[in-house]
């Protein structure tokens, strides 16, 4: 590269791009913030470009988790110790957030089956979560069923909904499937919102009973935390077994190449159906746990943004990786709590983060290389 083009590309980066971007932001915030933005960008863009050159030279250490902590089962056990001790160490607030994180881990692992293993993009996954939550809420408040007798029913209805939606939907190509699931999610929310006589509409249902274990009312958050923890461990255990089973491998094969896997004798239709139903099963379980924790449900908890948030948990950690999904869920639940002051900018950062993640690391933080190989 000769000096002339070097100079021009430097000028381009430090003047024209920042000028253009601050011009685009101008009408919404006025002149002064746009000028500030221009100054900031005209420093950061050439700087990051220059730094990128140096960073390429530096050989970064391998940042995979297994390098620093013992691999496999021992890693899980190591993580379990702080998880078990948490209610003793922290106050109720921290335990409460951790409980919520546990519920999201179950939900995200369920979505991971559909999106991560089988490669079917579901943008309305929160619908099954909502069915699980409302299932328990309605069975409990209307029929007086307890947690343990209502849970199988609500989880089953979420699974059935997942299966029934999948029957017509799996014939569709990738992004059409995404839209049908999105539409389904919205329809479920609109029904919950408008069917006043049955779901109490936007006011939601309150007075849901807390679960009971051996005559002990699990009302206290620390006890409920352990209940959720048990369910998380069960979920992780089942996921690990399923991932290496014949069915799990068939799902991954479909994600990698649908035509080739059909040629190998895998029934793609059946496996897509089972994947959707299996994913919805965990969403139903997470929903039931959510309703029992909050003891209140309303349609507000089940918006499209919620679906996107769960999808982000799966993607940030890495499609198809259990550890990745758990880390993704923890990050997205804990980060807003840590950054309370700048919470307003959380969604802004999430949007930017998704774009940059797709550009620079499409397989997610912990995803394997193979996840990105489909067309």
């Amino acid at each position: 590269m000769n000096g002339m083009t070097m100079k021009r590309s430097f000028l381009f980066r430090s003047l024209i791009i920042p000028l253009w971007i601050s011009f685009l932001f101008l009408p919404f915030k006025g002149l002064l913030p746009a000028a500030v933005l221009f100054v900031v960008l005209s420093v950061t863009i050439p700087l990051s470009k220059a730094l990128a050159g140096y960073l390429k030279e530096i050989r970064l250490p391998d940042l995979r988790l297994t390098r620093f902590v013992p691999a496999g089962d021992r890693l899980g056990l190591l993580l379990l110790v702080p998880a078990l001790l948490l209610p003793f160490a922290g106050d109720n607030y921290i335990t409460d957030i951790a409980t919520l994180a546990g519920i999201y881990i179950i939900l995200a692992l369920g979505l991971n089956v559909v999106v991560g293993y089988t490669g079917l993009l579901n943008l309305g996954f929160v619908a099954f979560y909502a069915i699980g939550a409302y299932g328990y809420a309605l069975l409990n408040t209307r029929l007086g069923l307890g947690f343990w007798s209502a849970m199988p029913l609500s989880v089953l209805s979420a699974t059935a909904a997942g299966f029934l939606l999948a029957v017509p939907a799996v014939r569709l190509r990738g992004d059409y499937l995404a839209l049908v699931t999105l539409g389904f999610g919205e329809i479920v929310r609109l029904i919950l919102n408008n069917w006043d006589s049955f779901t109490k509409g936007p006011n939601g249902i309150n007075g849901i009973a807390a679960p009971q274990v051996l005559d002990i009312q699990i009302g206290k958050i620390s006890l409920y935390y352990y209940l959720v923890l048990v369910f998380v461990l069960v979920t992780v255990f089942v996921m690990r077994r399923v991932q290496d089973s014949k069915t799990g491998r068939a799902w991954i094969a479909i994600r990698e190449d649908e035509i080739a896997s059909a040629a190998m004798g895998i029934s793609t239709t059946w496996h897509k159906l089972s994947s959707c139903a299996f994913g919805a099963f965990w969403a139903g379980l997470a929903g039931t746990l959510f309703a029992a924790k909050m003891r209140f449900v309303s349609p507000e908890s089940f918006t499209f943004m919620e679906s996107v948030l769960v999808l982000c948990m799966v993607i940030i950690g890495g499609l198809g990786s259990i550890v990745g999904v758990i880390v993704g869920a923890l990050v997205l639940v804990l980060l807003p709590e840590v950054l309370r002051e700048v919470q307003m900018y959380r969604m802004l950062a999430l949007g930017c983060g998704l774009v940059f993640l797709m550009i620079f690391r499409p397989q997610g933080l912990f995803g394997g290389k193979h996840a990105a190989s489909d067309r």
Binding site: L179, G183, N194, G351, G353, L354, V355, M358, A372
Partner: protein, 300 residues
């Protein structure tokens, strides 16, 4: 009553059709559902308010209302086209050869960013559009049509005809159709694909901006979240007419607008927003190629 609903539906349908054109053009060329397109429409509505308020403060609106509205429209279209152009450059172009899910997720990211950016800078509450147009109108077969409704129907009709002529007759339009058919072949015959894609985004975003300003004038208030539902409805319109087909998007928009307006008055207005989703699901399951679309074979 029926005629009134038909006119309301036609107005709504014209707006949906304008947004749907952006979806269908981008999908035709990139096979990407541009989730951020609905947000461009929302930005257009906000920019319309901001620019018109600025012009009113500068005294231009008092001097000449049509001139002021015209400048608002032109500036909004310019800004929104720039947004579309920039978004494509930053968020979609690096992902041209990535797996299919990646650009879709990137588009969702852009959509989240824009929505929250507007919410942070303009507030989460409804913003009221300065009421500059009176509710004047005329009688049409004993039905009242406001001038604004007539203007929206006429403007969207004219724009669609112009776009159709542009795509069918001009050299750039031919290049766009060529790229939509086969990108590799198009580049072999000397078409600059990056340029064609940029033009597609610029035109699509400009149309969404027009729709945004018209809706802001029509309803008189905007909210940062209008882009999502309008985007989904417009996408439904595009799928309904046959995605990738420009006449299809127009037809789909009008049909959807009519269905929504008639459904709201004759079935139930509570589920007004659900009709689009029900239509979307039924169309995708029964006739995924849409009313006017061609069936695409899966390439191996």
């Amino acid at each position: 009553m029926l005629l009134q609903q038909l006119i309301n539906g036609l107005t709504l349908g014209g707006v949906y059709a304008l947004i749907a054109l952006g979806y269908t053009m981008v999908y035709g060329i990139l096979e990407l559902i541009n989730f951020a397109h609905g947000e461009i429409y929302m930005l257009g509505a906000y920019l319309g308010i901001i620019i018109l308020a600025f012009l009113t403060a500068a005294g231009l609106t008092a001097y000449s209302l049509p001139l002021s509205l015209f400048i608002t429209l032109v500036l909004t279209v310019l800004f929104c086209s720039s947004y579309g152009f920039t978004i494509e450059k930053i968020a979609y172009r690096p992902l041209r050869n990535a797996p299919r899910l990646s650009p879709l997720i990137s588009a969702i990211g852009v959509s989240i960013f824009l929505q929250n950016y507007v919410m942070l800078t303009q507030g989460a509450t409804d913003k009221v559009f300065p009421s500059v147009l009176g509710s004047g109108g005329f009688e049409f077969f004993s039905t009242r049509v406001t001038y604004l409704q007539a203007a929206i129907i006429a403007a969207s009709g004219i724009i669609m005809v112009l776009l159709h002529l542009f795509v069918m007759k001009t050299k750039t339009g031919k290049a766009m159709r060529c790229v939509a058919q086969d990108k590799v072949m198009a580049s072999l015959v000397g078409i600059d694909i990056d340029r064609v894609i940029s033009i597609t985004f610029i035109i699509g975003s400009g149309l969404a901006a027009v729709a945004g300003v018209m809706v802001a004038l029509y309803y008189g208030l905007v909210n940062y979240s209008i882009g999502y539902s309008a985007g989904i409805k417009a996408f439904t319109a595009a799928v309904l007419g046959g995605i990738g087909s420009i006449p299809g998007a127009m037809l789909g928009g009008v049909v959807l607008g009519l269905a929504e307006s008639l459904g709201a008055s004759y079935i139930s207005s509570e589920y007004k927003d659900a009709y689009a989703f029900v239509i979307l699901i039924i169309i995708l399951l029964l006739k995924p190629e849409g009313l006017l679309g061609k069936r695409r074979e899966e390439k191996i």
